[in-house]
C-alpha cells in the first residue's frame, strides 16, 4: 500500500515538474514575430500563397490586387481592373495565373508574371465572393461562388462558364477545389457545405454537410484532399473527413467570426478572426498549438506550407507576416 502511494506521488511529481517544460518546449517551437510588409488603401479581404511558396497575392476593398515576394518581403506589383471590392483570389496550381472575384460580379484571370489581365468572366448576377483555381497540371478550371446562391465552374480556355451548380438556399460564401481535382466544396449563409463533382455533366451535389449553427464563411481541403476544414460566423471550426463527409471535430476557436482558415503540410490548421488573434490547431487532437494576438482585425490568412511564415490580410489595410522564430 505504501509502495503504491509512493509510486503515485512520484508520478504526480513528474507531471507537475515536467509537463510545463513540455508545454514550454511546444510553445517555443511555435513562436512568431509579426512584421508589416505593406499596405492597401482599404481592408485586405483575402490572401493566397502560391504553390512554390514564393509569392502571396492579396486583394482588397480598395479594388486592387497586390502580389508580394515572400522571401524578399516586398510588393512586386499591383493589378487594377475590377470595378468593385475584390473579395477573393487564387493562384493556379502551376503558379502562372491568378483568378479574382469581385463585387462587380466578374471573375478575372491575370498573368502572374506580367500583371496583364487575360480575361473577364461574366455570368454571376450578384457579387462574386469566392474563387478557387483547379490545382491540377492543366489548371483549366476556376470555381466561383456568389451572393446569387450559385457555384459556377469556368473553363479558362473557352472563357466561359461550363456549369452552374444550384442547391444552396442562401448566398454562397466561399469555394475550394480539392487538390486531387475531384471535388469542389462550397459554403453558404444557409449553414451548409455542399460537395460537388468536378465532372462537367454532374450538377447535383454529392453530399451536403450539416452541423454548423451559423452561416459558414469558408471551407478548404488539405493537401491530400482527405480533410475539409470549415469556419463560421460564430467562431467555430469544423473538421470533416473526406470523401466520407464524416464530422471529425468541432472547435470553438475564436470569439468573433472566422473568415478564413488554412492548412499546413502537416495538417495543422491556422485560423484568423475579427477577434484579432491568429491560432494554430492540431487537426488530429483539436489542441490549440499557438495563439498570437495581432491587435488588429484579420480577414484572411494563408501560410508557407511548413508554417515558417503566416500571412495575414488585415482590416487596417496591412499585409502582415508572422515569421517563425528559431
Amino acid at each position: 500500500m505504501r509502495r503504491t502511494l509512493w509510486l503515485f506521488s512520484a508520478f504526480l511529481a513528474f507531471l507537475v515538474l515536467f509537463a510545463p517544460l513540455q508545454a514550454k518546449k511546444e510553445s517555443k517551437k511555435l513562436n512568431y514575430k509579426m512584421i508589416t510588409v505593406g499596405k492597401h488603401d482599404d481592408e485586405v479581404l483575402a490572401v493566397f500563397v502560391n504553390e512554390d511558396n514564393t509569392k502571396v497575392a492579396s486583394c482588397s476593398l480598395d479594388e486592387t490586387i497586390k502580389i508580394w515576394s515572400i522571401p524578399e518581403k516586398k510588393e512586386l506589383r499591383t493589378l487594377k481592373g475590377h470595378l468593385g471590392p475584390v473579395n477573393s483570389i487564387s493562384f493556379s496550381g502551376n503558379d502562372k495565373w491568378l483568378a479574382s472575384g469581385s463585387n462587380d460580379m466578374s471573375v478575372r484571370i491575370w498573368d502572374v508574371n506580367t500583371g496583364q489581365q487575360l480575361s473577364v468572366l461574366k455570368g454571376h448576377t450578384a457579387p462574386v465572393i469566392g474563387v478557387y483555381f483547379s490545382q491540377d497540371d492543366s489548371c483549366t478550371f476556376v470555381a466561383s461562388t456568389s451572393f446569387d446562391k450559385t457555384v459556377k465552374l469556368w473553363d479558362i480556355r473557352l472563357g466561359s462558364e461550363v456549369k452552374t451548380l444550384r442547391g444552396h438556399t442562401e448566398p454562397t460564401n466561399n469555394v475550394a477545389y480539392s487538390y486531387d481535382g475531384k471535388y469542389i466544396a462550397s459554403c453558404s449563409d444557409d449553414k451548409t457545405i455542399k460537395i460537388w463533382s468536378t465532372d462537367i455533366h454532374t450538377k447535383e451535389p454529392i453530399m451536403t454537410l450539416l452541423g454548423h449553427n451559423a452561416p459558414v464563411l469558408t471551407c478548404l481541403f488539405n493537401f491530400e484532399s482527405k480533410l475539409l476544414a470549415s469556419s463560421d460566423m460564430e467562431g467555430v471550426i469544423k473538421i470533416w473527413e473526406m470523401p466520407s463527409g464524416k464530422l471529425l471535430r468541432t472547435i470553438k476557436a475564436h470569439k468573433e467570426l472566422i473568415q478564413d482558415v488554412s492548412f499546413s503540410e502537416d495538417n495543422n490548421i491556422v485560423s484568423a478572426s475579427l477577434d484579432k488573434t491568429v491560432k494554430i490547431w492540431d487537426s488530429k487532437t483539436g489542441d490549440n498549438l499557438m495563439t498570437f494576438d495581432t491587435g488588429v482585425e484579420i480577414w484572411s490568412v494563408d501560410l508557407v506550407s511548413d508554417k515558417s511564415t503566416i500571412i495575414l490580410g488585415c482590416a487596417d489595410g496591412t499585409v502582415r507576416f508572422l515569421i517563425k522564430q528559431k
Partner: protein
C-alpha cells in the same frame, strides 16, 4: 482484266468518298457549342418562362427556344458555331425585351456553356435594383466603370422610348439626414446626366433622393462577413408607359 481494274478503282473512289464524308460529318457534329442556363426575374429572382430568339451577328435568326419556369427557368440552345457572336433576345409579356450578347470561344470539339439571364419586369411602380452600386461609399460622383455597371439599364431604356421612369437613391448610413438627402439627390442627378449623355430624353426621367436608408434593404446592424460592405441601393422605378 481492264474492267477488273476499273471496278477496283471505282470501289476505291466510293470507299474514299464515304469515309471522307463520315469524317467531315463527324467534325461538323463535334464542332458545335450548346448554351444552357436559366432565366430569372431581375426583381424577385424567381424563374420565368420566356421566349428566346437567337440571332447571329448579321441579325439572321438562327434558333428559337423557351425557358421553363417549372424547371427553374431552364433553357437550352443547341448547335451554335464556335468562334461566333450571337444575340439572344428574351421576350415575355409584362417584361422589358432584353437582348444579350454571347461571344463563343473557338473550339474543335463539342462544348456546353452556361449563362443565366435576368429580365426586368415592366409594371408601373416596380422598383428594379441596380445590381452593383455605381457609387463608392459616401460619394455622389459616378465611380470609374459606372458605364459598364449601368449598361443593361441604358440599353433597356433606349429600346423602350415610351417608358417614363424614376431614379431612386438611398443613403449608406443613418448618421446625418441632411447630408444623406444631399448625397442621394446628387447621386440621382449623376445617373440622370449619364443617361441623358447616352441619348435618353431628360423628359422621361424623374429623381427621388432619400434622407433615410432603404427600409427593404437596410444597413447591417452587426459585423458582417466580407463582401457585405453596405452602399445605399439605387433603383430604377417604372413610372409610366
Amino acid at each position: 482484266m481492264k474492267s477488273m481494274k476499273k471496278l477496283i478503282f471505282i470501289l476505291i473512289l466510293i470507299v474514299s468518298y464515304t469515309f471522307g464524308t463520315q469524317v467531315s460529318s463527324a467534325q461538323l457534329v463535334k464542332a458545335v457549342i450548346a448554351v444552357t442556363g436559366n432565366i430569372f426575374d431581375a426583381v424577385t429572382k424567381e424563374p420565368v418562362t420566356a421566349l428566346l430568339i437567337i440571332q447571329d451577328e448579321n441579325g439572321k435568326k438562327v434558333n428559337q427556344t423557351r425557358s421553363n419556369s417549372a424547371e427553374n427557368g431552364l433553357y437550352y440552345i443547341p448547335s451554335l458555331s464556335p468562334g461566333k457572336k450571337y444575340f439572344i433576345t428574351v421576350n415575355k409579356p409584362n417584361y422589358f425585351t432584353d437582348k444579350f450578347e454571347i461571344q463563343l470561344a473557338n473550339s474543335d470539339k463539342y462544348n456546353e456553356i452556361s449563362r443565366d439571364f435576368l429580365i426586368k419586369p415592366k409594371d408601373k411602380g416596380v422598383k428594379i435594383p441596380v445590381p452593383v452600386p455605381p457609387f463608392e461609399a459616401n460619394r455622389s460622383k459616378l465611380r470609374y466603370g459606372a458605364a459598364e455597371l449601368l449598361e443593361s439599364f441604358t440599353n433597356t431604356l433606349k429600346s423602350n422610348p415610351d417608358v417614363k421612369f424614376q431614379i431612386q437613391c438611398y443613403p449608406d448610413n443613418t448618421l446625418d439626414k441632411n447630408k444623406n438627402q444631399t448625397i442621394t439627390d446628387e447621386r440621382c442627378k449623376a445617373i440622370m446626366d449619364y443617361f441623358v449623355s447616352s441619348g435618353i430624353d431628360a423628359s422621361r426621367i424623374s429623381l427621388k433622393g432619400s434622407s433615410t436608408t432603404d427600409p427593404k434593404n437596410p444597413p447591417p446592424t452587426q459585423k458582417a462577413a466580407k463582401g457585405k460592405r453596405y452602399i445605399g441601393p439605387t433603383y430604377i422605378v417604372v413610372v409610366d408607359f
